[in-house]
Symmetry: C2
Subunit: 271 residues, 2 copies
């Protein structure tokens, strides 16, 4: 199957314009044969809001008008798209990514790990268990940006059978480079899953984002990486069989990276 990460520059506050850009970019990626298409965190709204009240007018119910538009598009194109937006549940806002496929809206994920005092102060942390979403033959996990810093999250999705982790993200300069430098590769390799990370480019209110969207395979090899400044959609072929094979080895060295875990010794991680 062909996967894509769409790197672009959403315009803060311009929901109508961003929705048009998103539709055009998904059409373009589908035109190149992509079947699973990941877009950035808060792609619909922009991200650098200073106050919790500020993005209220931009937030969407899920399901809602934007997911109806997105679901109609993915149904028409026969693709799966994962798009970041701000979700409103009455007055509460979540930093959410929605998953739409040939049947329309099939899932949403609310960002769980939020920076203490940073940009995500507009959002309330998600409180639901990490769950995969099955779309066609693929079992997908969705995480958002800072979630990937915590190995626990990608591991829990893997234990539920994730083949691929979609990561809508907004990696900021300069610290965000830890993700494309080594964290994305480690999460893919330690779990033997594909990671499709779609970052944004451009600036918002003095904060610059570093691009470098990545598609990494279950060995930790980078299949594609986007430019650090320009909008760009990257593509790669992903193999379900590869992601589902957790064993590898040579003549003398055989491992199974899930069976070799020692959950009997891991109780200190939860609580």
């Amino acid at each position: 199957m062909k996967v894509a990460a769409v790197q672009f520059a959403p315009v803060i506050g311009d929901k109508t314009g961003n929705a048009e850009r998103i539709v055009g970019l998904i059409q373009e990626a589908a035109g190149h044969g992509a079947e699973y298409i990941v877009l950035p965190e808060c792609a619909l709204t922009g991200y650098c809001f200073d106050e919790p009240t500020e993005p209220q007018g931009l937030a969407e119910p899920v399901p809602g008008p934007f997911t109806a538009q997105l679901g109609a598009l993915t149904a028409e194109l026969g693709v799966v798209a994962i798009v970041g937006l701000i979700e409103a549940v009455e007055a509460t806002l979540f930093n959410t990514a929605v998953v739409a496929g040939p049947q329309g809206l099939v899932g949403r994920y609310r960002k769980t790990h939020l920076p203490c005092l940073g940009f995500d102060r507009f959002a309330t942390p998600g409180t639901e268990d990490f769950r995969t979403v099955a779309v066609g033959e693929v079992r997908m996990g969705v995480l958002i940006c800072y979630d990937l810093r915590f190995p626990e999250a990608a591991r829990l999705l893997t234990l539920q059978g994730a083949d691929l982790i979609a990561l809508p993200t907004n990696w900021p300069a300069p610290k965000g480079s830890i993700y494309p430098d080594f964290i994305v590769r480690t999460r893919a390799c330690e779990n033997r899953v594909y990671v499709v990370a779609a970052n944004r480019v451009g600036e918002e209110r003095g904060e610059r984002f570093i691009g470098r969207s990545q598609i990494v395979d279950p060995s930790g090899d980078v299949l594609a990486e986007a430019d650090s400044e320009l909008p760009q959609t990257i593509f790669a072929d992903a193999s379900l069989a590869e992601a589902r094979n957790k064993r590898f080895g040579t003549r003398t060295y055989h491992v199974d990276i899930l069976k070799d875990r020692r959950p009997d010794l891991y109780s200190g991680l939860a609580g």
Copy 2:
């Protein structure tokens, strides 16, 4: 404090010769001012044993003759040394690393995650909880080689206050390159700890080891990396204050990588 990783080529089966090499290398590292000195996995014995019975005659009780020799040395030099060996508990063998300091032997760790059918078939997996060892002001965690592939292990040591993770290792060619390429950096960064990884070089029974011993700081930056083929001791300065500060940020982006965890959602990791 000054830390060191000692990369050399132990000779399989030559316990007496390896012990002499280990003593000489620790003296040399201490002569260069190193206070915490990490040596490879199975440094005393070699590693590529084909049968569980084969290394029986090389295995050591802990405490035992080798740890007495090592503890006398570290007491004399006023340093801490972490050395890999094969530990015998009656007929049961463990792939163990011992920790000796100015007071002699202060700890041991038995490798917990073992490749299914690979080289470690001579060893029985450790079953003890992950525990840090306090030596002087430093709280150390010890892991061995394949243990580092599992984010759970380094995380548990960090949650117990580890400042530094010592990793005696035997990274094989070619797959072992995932560790110095990205896994060591991720473990250091995701936990904000120092990782001091001492690999071996040379060949044993047709298996080649890839060197590239590394010292990585809590930001994930590589402070020192050794050659891929030659014996070499690498050094770096480590700051306890740096490892104990789990917060960082810019004007708008402030995180605490332990407090931002969501252990309420992590129960699926244990069992």
